[in-house]
């Protein structure tokens, strides 16, 4: 028998056993990730991309804005231009490094904002239920009625280009799915006995949400959001490609892809480089998100 025996007339004995070390949820997730080498490798790629973008002022070989009529559309490895030049004679490598800044920003900021807004709305809708839930979730359904690219194009197309408008459009695109995830998770947790027990001990709504709901809702929201970063980078670059996101001459992968497209017959492989950067970044985020999903699927 594994249970601790305990007689009714026998109050607990004083014991001197040392406290046990146990792993909490997030610790066990970290423990699992440590042995998931594929995820680790892609995690390191993300780290490298982020570092390269952050350090671009120091590691970029040239000024990304400096044009040159002489060195237009040079191939890979031409003189000092390791990865060639674009249609205005600017160094591709430097622009790729600098472009990582806007692309990563456009990938992370809208998702972060949408987690805050959508997550809050979802938890509120899920916890309160009833009419409030109807109001919030039916409004979200309307935005669900658009494919995400179409919604982003519609909003930033109407409002005009620019990075801020692009981010706003992407945030609006990601709020509904995150709201739905948070609402589903909250609704599931809300009916569980430990939440009832918390209410029975006299706790208010805010306290229950903070102490009992958030901890259980965070994991699914986090996993989903990590997958959205890749989508966000893809759509943001797509917007820039259509002339809706980042505006020239700011270096950005999507924008570079768009302007280099004209030179496809002159210097095809240079044209493909910015897209490759988008692809590697988005793939890495997807792989890491997948690894997280598996590591966080801990039965507790």
């Amino acid at each position: 028998m594994t249970d601790i025996t305990f007689g009714a007339a026998n109050p607990a004995k004083v014991d001197t056993a040392p406290p046990v070390k146990v792993r909490g949820y997030w610790q066990s997730v970290a423990y699992r990730l440590r042995y998931d080498y594929v995820t680790l490798v892609f995690g390191f790629i993300i780290l490298a991309i982020v570092l390269a973008a952050l350090l671009s002022p120091w590691i970029a070989p040239m000024d990304p804005q400096k044009t040159s009529m002489v060195y237009r559309l040079k191939p890979i490895g031409f003189k000092q231009f390791t990865l060639g030049t674009d249609e205005l004679g600017r160094d591709i490598l430097s622009r790729l490094l600098w472009g990582g800044r806007t692309s990563l920003l456009m990938g992370v900021v809208p998702v972060g904002l949408a987690v805050l807004i959508g997550g809050t709305l979802g938890v509120i809708a899920g916890f309160i239920g009833g009419k409030i839930n109807m109001l919030i979730m039916r409004t979200m359904d309307i935005f669900y009625a658009f494919p995400s690219i179409l919604l982003a194009v519609a909003i930033s197309g109407a409002m005009g280009g620019g990075m801020a408008n692009g981010m706003l459009a992407l945030t609006l695109v990601f709020i509904p799915p995150l709201c739905r995830i948070a609402e589903t998770a909250t609704t599931q947790v809300r009916g569980l006995d430990f939440v009832e027990a918390a209410r029975a001990s006299g706790a208010g709504t805010a306290s229950i949400i903070v102490h009992h709901i958030l901890g259980n809702v965070l994991a699914p929201v986090f996993v989903y959001a990590s997958g959205l970063v890749s989508v966000s980078i893809l759509i943001a670059s797509g917007l820039s490609f259509l002339g809706l996101g980042v505006e020239p001459p700011t270096p950005d992968w999507g924008l570079m892809l768009s302007t280099l497209r004209q030179a496809i017959y002159v210097n095809p492989w240079v044209c493909a480089l910015p897209g490759a950067a988008i692809f590697i970044t988005s793939l890495s985020f997807n792989m890491v998100s997948d690894g997280l999903r598996q590591a966080m699927d801990v039965k507790m």
Binding site: D3, A8, P11, G24, A197, G202, A203, H212
Partner: protein
């Protein structure tokens, strides 16, 4: 196999000088007066309410200070809804709840916050009874913190309570629920309920999911804690043996209504209501000679959305007559701790039933439901509940 022998049932008297006591020993701790809870059933094109599940339909009873009131009934009879109503986790549609003389949720009554401190609930052990993201001592300490206790004090209280329920705080305090066995989790659940020093504990199927051997340990723990903390229990279960073991008085529910209340000995040795008899006969006997061949109660309970007219048990009752369909029997007024009453026309001298005033139970206890012509039922000595 552990055999539990049972102390003679007696109503504990509240010790003098419990500072929380307000109404005195004679004042029932909790009075439920005509409680009702109907859940709407939605359907149709526009999802409108098309009917109501009468989960709790006019329930009246009293919980005396220091006693254990057992509540039994088939699953779906409204036991759990009743528990949540008593706990005020869901509001009742109508009726009055009075705690130690003070009406709950009314102007001059006890505030909800005070009530929440005084009444706590132990849930059925399941994966959801404890927050999977919190170490168990934090789950226990949460309630006191809500009521303003400092974090350090709450934690040391939690560790003290863990010891009280038989878990070494050094070994278990920092663990997460998934690292505990069912019995251990249930001890934690009990400790959590005790953390606010309640006077009344509502135990909703608190031992039903446990292994039999563990169940016995937890039941013993509950008996110990009751004395130690001067508690009153409402013990809800579908397990007749467990209820018999732990209760002083027993309340039998059928389809959202109380059909019988009485002392545990009264209910188990001379049940009055045909439903109670059927329930008791349906227990599997440990003695092969006593086994009944045919189940005494057949069929599922009727639909609580459209309960039968008159007496709700009449569709399954072998004594049903015309009067049972036309008039709903009422539960006679309950008088004191030893009263034994049943809502049945046969037990009402003016009930209009052919056996009114001469109910079958008096003639052949326990086996009154046996088909006619089978001869007198054997006399069954009451045996202690055996936990296998």
């Amino acid at each position: 196999m552990t055999t539990i022998t049972r102390d003679p049932p007696k109503l504990d008297v509240v010790p003098e000088g419990d500072p929380r006591d307000r109404g005195g020993p004679a004042q029932p701790l909790l009075i439920a007066q005509d409680l009702k809870k109907w859940f709407p059933v939605r359907g149709g094109l526009l999802n409108r309410a098309i009917g109501h599940v009468r989960a709790v339909d006019g329930v009246t009873f009293q919980v005396l200070k220091g006693e254990t009131l057992g509540i039994v009934g088939e699953s779906g009879c409204g036991k759990s809804t009743l528990a949540r109503l008593l706990m005020q986790l869901i509001p009742h549609d109508s009726g009055v709840l009075t705690f130690d003389g003070d009406p709950i949720g009314e102007m001059r009554g006890i505030s909800m916050k005070e009530f929440r401190k005084a009444v706590q609930m132990v849930f059925q052990d399941s994966y959801s009874s404890l927050n999977p993201r919190l170490p168990v001592e934090d789950s226990i300490a949460y309630g006191p913190k809500v009521h303003g206790m400092a974090a350090a004090a709450a934690k040391s209280l939690a560790r003290e309570l863990l010891e009280k329920v038989g878990l070494r705080s050094n070994l278990f305090g920092q663990r997460y629920p998934h690292e505990l066995s069912g019995g251990q989790k249930q001890r934690v659940n009990i400790a959590r309920a005790l953390a606010l020093s309640p006077r009344l504990l509502i135990l909703d199927e608190a031992v039903s999911a446990l292994d039999k051997s563990v169940e016995a340990q937890v039941l013993n723990l509950l008996r110990y804690l009751k004395r130690h903390f001067n508690l009153t229990y409402v013990f809800i279960s579908h397990d007749l043996n467990v209820v018999q073991y732990i209760s002083d008085r027993v309340l039998v529910m059928y389809l959202g209504q109380v059909v019988e209340i009485g002392s545990v000995d009264g209910i188990y040795t001379s049940p009055k209501h045909p439903y109670t008899r059927a329930l008791l006969t349906s227990r599997l006997s440990m003695d092969p000679d006593e086994r009944v061949e045919d189940p005494p109660i057949t069929g599922d309970p009727p639909n609580p959305i459209n309960p039968p007219s008159g007496c709700r048990f009449r569709t399954r009752c072998p004594f049903a007559e015309a009067v049972c369909a036309s008039a709903m029997p009422t539960l006679p007024k309950w008088l004191d701790a030893d009263s034994h009453v049943a809502a049945c026309h046969m037990h009402d001298a003016a009930g209009g039933h052919s056996r009114s005033g001469n109910p079958p139970g008096v003639l052949d206890p326990l086996h009154a439901l046996a088909p006619a012509g089978r001869g007198p039922a054997p006399v069954v000595p009451l045996r202690p509940a055996v936990v296998a």
